[in-house]
Subunit: 166 residues, 6 copies
């Protein structure tokens, strides 16, 4: 049975992430969503919160498992016996970094392939950081993240309306 | 059964193409190598020659079908009931063009996804055009294409040694 | 009164072109849509056809003039006393070429600025060549071009259904 | 009256910023230079210092207003009733990020357009961070920033001559 | 003695080419300017004309040899016993193509290195094709090419003033 | 005698760095490997450790000097009377940043050229940061760095095996 990994920080999951995971779930037997437990940047949401959000927003898919890992993705892939990583691709800088990671992972674990899938053009500008930046200032993030994630962001930030200094 | 399409002109197939097709064949049940019958540039090898070369250089894979098509890739995919295209990715300009095609194809046939796989770094500089350019002047293409393709190239070109005009 | 130029081959105009021209028309007093009379590639539609199509698909805008030119864009801009070119931006290779043209035009006519506007993400993959390629094989181009342009494409091409050679 | 926003940290303003603002001021009725009050990186110059520097180096332009904002740029644009952002474009990574921001801002405030203008090639390599890095080690920044900004930088850094450790 | 190759079509040589060759001549003992005899696009100037133009515009450098070659650059390099190619770099698409060629050449002739040097930002937008396009319509190319090349372009094209079709 | 600079943090040196330095050493009389004493990110290895590692892994080259500097590279180049910087190029974002630095350095010290050399495709994905990330989690870095550097990394990190949180 062909299982694939969809790794990420998911801090929080966006409509772009969900789009990519849905595509992976459609084309492969099983998708293991692999949450990076301790991303290099201090996350806004705890690991448990991020996993709970993913469970909720992916509840319409039945070949999904939400897992998490610490350390190297290749070690997690090896442990799980998975040989395909599926990632979304947005822009050029993305592409370069992702290509570098893909080659590195393939050097560390020969036989591990990374497959890139393109999300809807609408999500091409979307990233968790941009979404957080918007939510932090009380901007409307509906349309960018599922309602549930929108609520979680609202709770996480005290709404601080922008002030003009003139 | 999950079948995927690997489309291309394959004029001629290179070690880079073979690397990508091998990866697709490893992760999916069936790979339909879809030869573009009439590419925009006049091909060096006839459609039959290109298909024969592919049959030979992919004979070690048993979940491969060599087909060809004329017209739109999305129509071919629709006819065959296939919803995944697998392509190799090399460089940035590549990436931009491929992304554009992927979005266009997905707009023409909703549900059709393109998945990009990265080949070995060694093949990152490789293209059929470069190989032909080298072979045309009698350059050594072993290591870039399978021996059989090398011979086909040799026959196709009269060896014209480079001359210095001083 | 600030007039700007929107140059292009418009062979044929797409929804992406229209999006860019609409944005220019919103922010500037007057938009001169400048059709390149003799593009380097032989156009599918005659100059008159391309101008007629533009007149039709831009009829909802009242600060638009459809003109055409032969030769250098900077000479046309000089003749018309216009100092801003507005162009759409899609992808990276686009960006590089457009940047090169912008710098060249500014070197040829100091004071001539090029302003790039980003179209809707949906049009990021769209180009006249891709649209023609689709229409040539009878693919559905509605959603990519206005209905009128779709009809013009249909007439221009004999519908040739794709054939699989197996 | 068509007013546009030129947002930035301006920590400090460089010749590249000034070039872009001059072009905006030439083509639009009014330019609001919008200083980001609290950029993500701790600025070298206080908000007041950055605004004062801008007032000085832009004193030759009479359709300029120096303002500042905290929070989302789209909220500031909405408050001011402005529907065009003008930004300079330098390189590819720039372009990707700016494109992402433009699409995000347009999603948050439909009707808000970002227009990119290319500065002189000489400024293509210029950024506030590079200028600060140079000034920090006593490098000569004349030609990169106005004399006034050069002096401000000199005062801001203690001149620490580079030492070779052999 | 370290000799290097500066290959190109030089149809015609531009100020950008000259800048790169001057830098190569400054850092290496000997520079062999290697004119591609038969470029893939039909050249405007004959091989002899291109070589003569180079002789003239490089007459201020005394460690320069103007040669030409047909066929593969690696064969020419091998014949001359040269192991460094020096090329100018402009933009991203350039970079990708050049990188591809560099890797290919190094695969064909192990030990052959390509070194890229960046020209002045002013020449970043410059290419022989753009210059020809400008000259063809009677545009002023002084500042982009040496006066001698400007004259050669003038003679090569009949000056056809741009016509507006309204 | 033509000496060149190969600057970097070398925290730690990788096979990619060594490849670039070897190429520089082959084509120029003398290579000064210039270690950035205090890189912006806190280094894992002390300056002395990094210099010692370089001495060891470059001991097969006899036209190498290991130096270090603090402050601006242009000042170090001026002090040493060196007018060529040699750097390796990997990917596009790399290229953009490096191009920016090259233009800046050339503006600060006219006559200082940066020459980019492409390393083996195998090292295209390699960076000191990626290597450290791998080593931190006990991943195998042989093949990416010389054995000596591998041992130094092992000592520097406590091996923390990845744990899955399910």
């Amino acid at each position: 049975m062909a299982a694939v990994l969809c790794p990420g920080s998911f801090d929080p999951p966006t409509n772009g992430h969900i789009d990519v995971i849905e595509r992976a779930a459609k084309h492969f037997d099983q998708v293991v969503v692999a949450v990076i437990a301790n991303p290099s940047k201090e996350p806004l949401f705890s690991l448990d919160q991020r996993k709970d959000l993913l469970v909720d927003v992916l509840s319409h898919l039945d070949n999904i498992e939400i897992a998490s890992f610490d350390g190297l993705l290749v070690d997690f892939a090896r442990t799980r016996g998975i040989s395909v990583i599926v990632k979304g691709l947005r822009a050029v800088s993305d592409f370069e970094y992702e290509l570098q990671m893909a080659q590195m992972n393939s050097a560390l674990l020969p036989g591990l392939d990374t497959m890139f899938v393109t999300a809807k053009p609408n999500w091409a500008f979307l990233s968790s950081s941009l979404v957080k930046q918007v939510a932090r200032y009380g901007g409307a993030v509906d349309g960018l993240v599922p309602p549930l994630v929108g609520k979680a962001l609202e709770e996480a930030y005290r709404v601080s309306p922008p002030t003009e200094h003139t």
